[in-house]
């Protein structure tokens, strides 16, 4: 007879000395690992719960302004520097790592309407209520020197916004019309206008750098081509857009922050339907900024909250609010896609984490592996009702919560009327308009 018994040599399974690692032989046979799906489900549930437990996004606030913060600007080369302009004409430069103000400039009399940095990072421009455009050096004045702008341009009308070209020495201001300026000249290279109303903001496209977008008071968004010095096309919405922001990864996508509590993501090539309508705010949306990954954006609203939206979803993934934070006027996403800065009415700039439960700092390889595994688990089971409920759960201040309930009732009432109209009229006489197209009035080329 031929016989062999299974016999293991303990030397192959037990470590030799206390200083060695323990040996862990692996066998990935699924029969040795029963209940894969329920165990993964429980791990996903735990991961979701822990994500909520560790969700502490608020990092700190930058204190110092003496009036509401009106605009923010990022330094293109330094992650730790941020510039802010306040409603009393003061411009401050902050160091985010030390959370201190490193320089203060009394730039304008009246509001600082816009601030933008030059692409090389050596200077920045500000526009204010005193009808001037000023260019300042990024490094502070030397010993004994006074704080003086490099260059001052006096204009005839109030400028309401400024943006610098991403590659050339050109900047654009907006006010009564959109002006394109060369840095060396004191009068605009060209002025473009379409319509007779004031323009509130202007933004250059970071990828197709000759394109500009602007928002005007007569509820339209106009796109301009700098090379031909003409407006290209415009889209007229229901209500006024406050700002737009171009997607840094997709050349033709931009998001508009509108007064009717929504944000609209448009594809420039087809302006008749927005790609996505983002509905979650309960008051006018004042500012929007994209993450450098191009997959998410952050919006600041007049209801005292900041929301983070994924580009392809219509609901926000995260809402940040504090009792002390009042109407949020401006928001920026830092260039390493990790932090969000928002400037609000009550003179503070707050720094938040973009992923609320992320652990900052250098992670060990085991931490990274565990984090990736948990992320994948949460993705896999995100649609299960318990896990969805925990992941979506967030605390909202009473004002926002009650507003949401009220607006839901109003929306329901409107929708019910529409459905009844549709049901009780001759088929074909009442056309069904999708939610996306409802808010667009016209597109003009």
């Amino acid at each position: 007879m031929k016989v062999k018994m299974l016999s293991r040599n303990p030397d192959n399974y037990v470590r030799e000395t206390k200083l060695d690692l323990q040996r862990v032989p692996r066998n990935y046979d699924p029969t040795l690992h029963p209940f894969e799906v329920p165990r993964e489900y429980v791990r996903a549930l735990n991961a979701t719960k822990l994500e909520r437990v560790f969700a502490k996004p608020f990092l700190g606030s930058l204190d110092g302004h003496r009036d509401g913060v009106n605009c923010l600007a990022k330094h293109p080369k330094s992650l730790a520097t941020v510039l802010s302009g306040a409603c009393d004409g003061e411009v401050r430069i902050w160091n985010l790592t030390k959370r201190k103000c490193i320089r203060t400039i009394q730039a304008h009399e009246g509001f600082v309407r816009g601030i933008c940095t030059r692409f090389c990072g050596t200077s920045f421009f500000t526009v204010g209520d005193d009808k001037t455009v000023k260019q300042w050096k990024m490094d502070g004045p030397g010993y004994g020197e006074e704080e003086e702008p490099l260059h001052t341009i006096l204009g005839k009308t109030v400028y309401t916004g400024i943006d610098h070209h991403w590659k050339e020495a050109v900047f654009a201001t907006c006010g009564q019309q959109v002006d394109i300026w060369d840095e060396q000249r004191t009068s605009p290279v060209c002025s473009m206008t379409w319509g007779f109303d004031s323009i509130s903001s202007v933004k250059f496209n970071p990828i197709e750098t000759f394109l500009l977008g602007s928002c005007a008071s007569d509820r339209n968004i106009v796109l301009y081509d700098m090379r031909q010095a003409t407006p290209l096309k415009k889209v007229i919405l229901d209500m006024r857009t406050n700002t737009i922001c171009w997607n840094p990864m997709e050349a033709f996508i931009f998001t508009a922050a509108n007064e009717d509590y929504n944000l609209y993501t448009f594809d420039m090539r087809a302006l008749d339907t927005p790609v996505m309508v983002h509905m979650d705010h309960v008051s006018a949306v004042l500012d929007v900024d994209y993450s450098p990954t191009g997959k998410e954006f952050v919006s600041a609203s007049f209801d005292k909250s900041v929301r983070i939206f994924p580009v392809d979803k219509s609901r926000s993934r995260e809402v940040y609010h504090t009792k002390r934070m009042q109407h949020v006027i401006c928001v920026k996403w830092t260039s390493d896609s990790k932090y969000i800065m928002c400037g609000s009415d009550e003179m503070n700039i707050r720094l938040w984490k973009a992923n609320a439960s992320e652990k900052l700092g250098v992670l060990t390889s085991r931490e990274k592996a565990a984090k990736d595994y948990n992320q994948k688990l949460k993705e896999k089971f995100q649609h299960h009702p318990h896990i969805k409920g925990i992941a979506c759960h967030c605390h909202l201040p009473k004002s926002i919560y009650s507003q949401i309930q009220e607006q839901r009732i109003m929306k329901e009432a409107r929708r019910r009327k529409e459905v009844n109209r549709l049901k009780h009229s001759k088929p074909g006489s009442v056309s069904v308009v999708s939610e996306k197209k409802k808010h667009i009035v016209a597109v003009v080329k």
Binding site: L6, R415, V419
Partner: protein, 564 residues
Amino acid sequence: MSRPRRTDFRPKNANIAKKSRISRKRQLPKKPRERRNLEPQRSVSGAQDPFPGPAPVPVEVARKFRRIDKSKKLPHSKSKTRSRLEVAEAEEEEISIKAARSELLLAEEPGFLEGEDGEDTAKIRQADIVEAVDIASAAKHFDLNLRQFGPYRLNYSPTGRHLAFGGRRGHVATLDWVTKRLMCEINVMEAVRDIRFLHSEALLAVAQNRWLHIYDNQGIELHCIRRCDRVTRLEFLPFHFLLATASETGFLTYLDVSVGKIMAALNARAGRLDVMTKNPYNAVIHLGHSNGTVSLWSPAMKEPLAKILCHRGGVRAVAVDSTGTYMATSGLDHQLKIFDLRGTFQPLGARTLPQGAGHLAFSQRGLLAAGMGDVVNIWAGQGKASPPSLEQPYLTHRLSGHVHGLHFCPFEDVLGVGHNGGITSMLVPGAAEPNFDGLESNPYRSQKQRQEWEVKALLEKVPAELICLDPRALAEVDVISLEQEKKERIERLGYDPEAKAPFQPKPKQKGRSSTASLVKRKRKVMDEEHRDKVRQSLEQQPQKQEKKAKPLRARPSALDRFVR
């Protein structure tokens, strides 16, 4: 290994006018990958690779790691969903091949016993096997003569390192049977009906005459659970931390040992519960009843999940194999049957035994052991995946007393038998899984590793509500809820947002956009859709007719009116 470089045949200094780039296309080989394989790989020394190409992967091994059931036909879906599914399937294919390759790293081989020249392996005695194997394995065979404290029931811990046994007259002991080191030995002064290790060797559950007791492995009584009274059988579900108890009062009680709560107390409504086993694949409890049925229970439902009629008389023993595919039952009608659990619930094989088997046990590799009186028979199948063939037993052994308990040791080729005269440990080559996974149950784990494992196991304890016949049910799409949601959405909005928009012909130039041609184009599309619909309905009609034609095959009888 780089491909041989193309030499430039044009002399470098010649004054040749540069032709336009468009015409001078570089001649690239059309299928570079295939070419690389056909050319023999030459290294600097001139040696050739004797095994060109990637290593071959055994197909059956790769199939073991696949979880997507390709035979299921998917309903029609949008192109985005379809492309995502294709990507997922391709990934799974790749990963199953990688996992199949990793099987090379498994160190141990399973044991075997083969007779020479047509020798019947059933005739080989344990003493012969002990002589023929090495010392370490021979030491695994031992007999404990304990006639004083009654017939014994035994249980191995989940790692297979520790053994607990309890005699009918109250003798309870736990020991590390490999090193023969006794951990505790007590007399509980009451009849012991069943004994089970809980999730590790630290805790022990003993079903005593009156109530259920929980002991430490040092013999210290930790709990006395009075709600579980007159328990006859115990089963522990390791991933749910549930202790299932079957009692004489007819109740099946689930006790969560991590929290200490009774999760469910189900009335089986079948009188005294004597026969119980667990299905390790889906944690469903199988109860055998005196009317020949086996019922399947889950703590989430008050009614059994299924009832299978197995025998003509009462069922005396039930066992389910580790993959949950086969169930072996034996009854008072002296039959031993094997049923297919994952699919048809039909008997796959049957055998008449001279004496009914009172105890059944499956090993990790699918060997079936039956205890009939004082004889133990073991049957083996072709491989791990096939049911044991009941024609010829693989091994037999006669003991010094009637069998009262059978349990295969988890990662060793050993069968523990508890009988009237004590405990016997039998050698069964090929019974156990040779390669354990260190993160699941590791017989060589240290104290620290055990503590870490326990914490992790408690964190991923599966809630009892998730026990059902298909453990992968959570990963399936809940089609009913989805359809319900869709209906509700259509009702709410007043129209179907996903319905295909009616065809709008695009305006064309050069006079092709006149009203007549637009109407013609619309009609063409409408006719095509109409034709598709008619074709579909025609396909569905013969199916309906087939369904109706089936029951009218046999000769018409008076009982036809009762056929639904």
